[in-house]
């Protein structure tokens, strides 16, 4: 449908077996990246911070993309993140309404970039969850929890149906009233 910039991957990896440790513990991580190569790289980045293992003495056992189970159902997503601002690290909780988790994550990255000037490398997603309607915290998402929602569109955006028909000058002023 819509092409997502961010894909969700499940990466499973472990340290390489050595003489002292025949069966090292296997770790699994779910993360977001634009492609599989970056996902593996990000996996090692996080694992390095948590365990004493690097890409050079470890192996990725599996990497699978996780797809949305119900892409036609609107859900409220809560995203807990840790980001680095110019002055230090902060935690944040953000809510988004979207049909897919990838879409919500994309919204989150673009919002963080616009509102806080934080780019992709400086954001770590701690946790994501679909929030049931009752537990949503932000007014911005709660205002859409109305089964009889009704609002008018303010401005009618007049634009040609294809970019080919775009012209610099128009014969008459467009009427913007819906």
């Amino acid at each position: 449908m819509v092409t997502f910039r961010f894909h969700q991957y499940q990466v499973v990896g472990r340290a390489l077996p050595t003489d002292s440790d025949e069966h090292p513990k296997i770790y699994r991580m779910k993360l977001w990246a634009t492609n599989e190569v970056r996902a593996k790289s990000k996996f090692w980045y996080f694992l390095r911070k948590l365990k004493k293992v690097k890409k050079s003495n470890g192996q990725v056992l599996a990497i699978n993309e996780i797809f949305e189970k119900n892409p036609t159902k609107i859900k409220n997503y809560g995203i807990w993140l840790r980001y680095q601002s110019r002055t230090g690290y902060h935690n944040m909780y953000k809510e988004y309404r979207d049909t897919t988790l990838n879409g919500a994550v994309e919204q989150m990255y673009t919002e963080m970039a616009s509102r806080h000037r934080v780019r992709f490398p400086c954001i770590q997603i701690i946790k994501t969850a679909t929030i049931p309607t009752k537990l949503c915290k932000r007014d911005n998402t709660k205002q859409f929890h109305n089964s009889k929602i009704k609002f008018p569109l303010m401005v009618k955006k007049v634009r040609p149906p294809t970019r080919k028909l775009k012209t610099t000058y128009k014969a008459s002023r467009p009427n913007l009233f819906m």
Binding site: M1, T72, R138, N140, F144, F151, P152, L153
Partner: protein, 159 residues
């Protein structure tokens, strides 16, 4: 950061007293609501009639039509029509089709002036050269008849 969603009309002057029961008069006739039929005016599904089935957020709606997979669409791609149908929030495809039949969306659309204009536009765009020739002859014939009548009326007026 709660954005202003429902618009309120401008505050009345002090002399007007608005009671709680009175709904202020808004200049908008077409609302985004569940069951509103809209025309897609941009993109891959250009020209299709779709039904707004739910609202995702300020800019997007969940949109459905009998011949497409239910998906989200930006309001910028939709032009609202006057037609609404009676559906619950996010209905099954079958319920949607039944409701569309009941509200007779297709006929209402094709008999509305907007719908008729679009049909004529499509027909004109799909003419081949022979059709255009026939059209030219028909136009000449029609204008000939009109001019004859006009000449008659002129003569009557002059005399």
């Amino acid at each position: 950061n709660s954005s202003i969603l429902i618009p309120s009309p401008p505050l009345s002057s002090i002399s007007n007293t608005i009671t709680h029961k009175q709904t202020p008069k808004m200049p908008f006739k077409r609302y985004v609501e569940i069951g509103r039929v809209a025309l897609v005016n941009y993109g891959k599904d250009y020209g299709k009639l779709v039904v707004i089935v739910d609202v995702v957020d300020q800019n997007r709606a969940l949109v459905d039509a009998p011949d497409m997979v239910r998906g989200q669409m930006n309001f910028k791609r939709l032009t609202l029509t006057d037609i609404t149908i009676d559906i619950p929030r996010v209905p099954k495809k079958k319920t949607l089709i039944e409701a569309m039949e009941k509200a007779d969306v297709k006929n209402k659309w094709e008999s509305s002036s907007w719908g008729r204009k679009l049909i004529v536009q499509k027909r004109r765009a799909s003419l081949n050269d022979f059709d255009r020739f026939k059209l030219m002859l028909a136009k000449i014939k029609r204008s000939g008849v009109i001019k004859q009548e006009l000449a008659k009326l002129k003569k009557e007026n002059a005399s």
